[in-house]
Symmetry: C2
Subunit: 110 residues, 2 copies
DNA sequence: GTTGGTATCTTGTTAAACAAGGTAGGTGGG
DNA sequence: CCCACCTACCTTGTTTAACAAGATACCAAC
């Protein structure tokens, strides 16, 4: 179903920023949390590239930390620019969500 | 602002299907209607490619018709497959909208 | 020592929005 | 008559993102 993956464009990035805002998280954890929130089947092949991109844009910063069990984890936290970007994203999301809902539900002309 | 144009990915296609479902429309008209609904700054360079794509996928059909004033218009209407695709899109949209809202608003762990 | 879960990252493919630009019909003003 | 303007169509090239697939590796338990 590629409709879904098109709908996720740009959305995932914002969601990841939002989750990290709550508390620092590592990649693998993000895939679990997104799933728990209802965004199922988000593969790691989507998440890691986003994390690298966000890091390159200085919206997040990461540092390795040992795990109580298993390989080391790279925890990411938001930068100031990251908080701004998230606010910006939330605003865009809100200006799109309303119109799209009203159009899809239909029936309203003019 | 490219965040916005990423967020529109996949969304515009569904919106166009939804508007055409209400009544047949032509390209130029769609750009006006989207704007009226709150989706501003959608250029014709976005709309016409979508219409061509939808037509190629047999979700819509178009036919030329004279205009009371100005060049001829190409009115599009939904096919059966188009109705299905729209229902499908609406479903996907609904499964994404809720989770994204809850993640952005934040505060909920586990 | 090998299996399996946790964890990271990379490459290549595909698909979509949009800017920019090109074509042309009709109408009204000069 | 012709020229400018609005309506209306379509195309090309650029950029960006999700994702599948796969590579790597640590650790624990058996």
């Amino acid at each position: 179903m590629k409709t879904r993956s098109q709908l996720l464009k740009g959305v995932l990035e914002g969601c990841i920023l939002a989750i990290i805002r709550e508390e620092p998280a590592y990649g693998y954890e993000l895939s679990v949390k997104l799933h728990e929130h209802g965004l199922t089947n988000i593969s790691e092949g989507s998440i890691y590239p986003i994390l690298l991109r966000l890091q390159k844009e200085h919206l997040i910063e990461g540092h390795m930390q040992p795990s109580p069990s298993g390989p080391r984890r790279k925890y990411y936290h938001l930068t100031d620019a990251g908080h701004e970007a998230l606010a910006n994203f939330a605003e865009h999301w809100n200006t799109i969500k309303g119109p799209v809902d009203s159009i899809i539900k239909g029936g309203r002309e003019q």
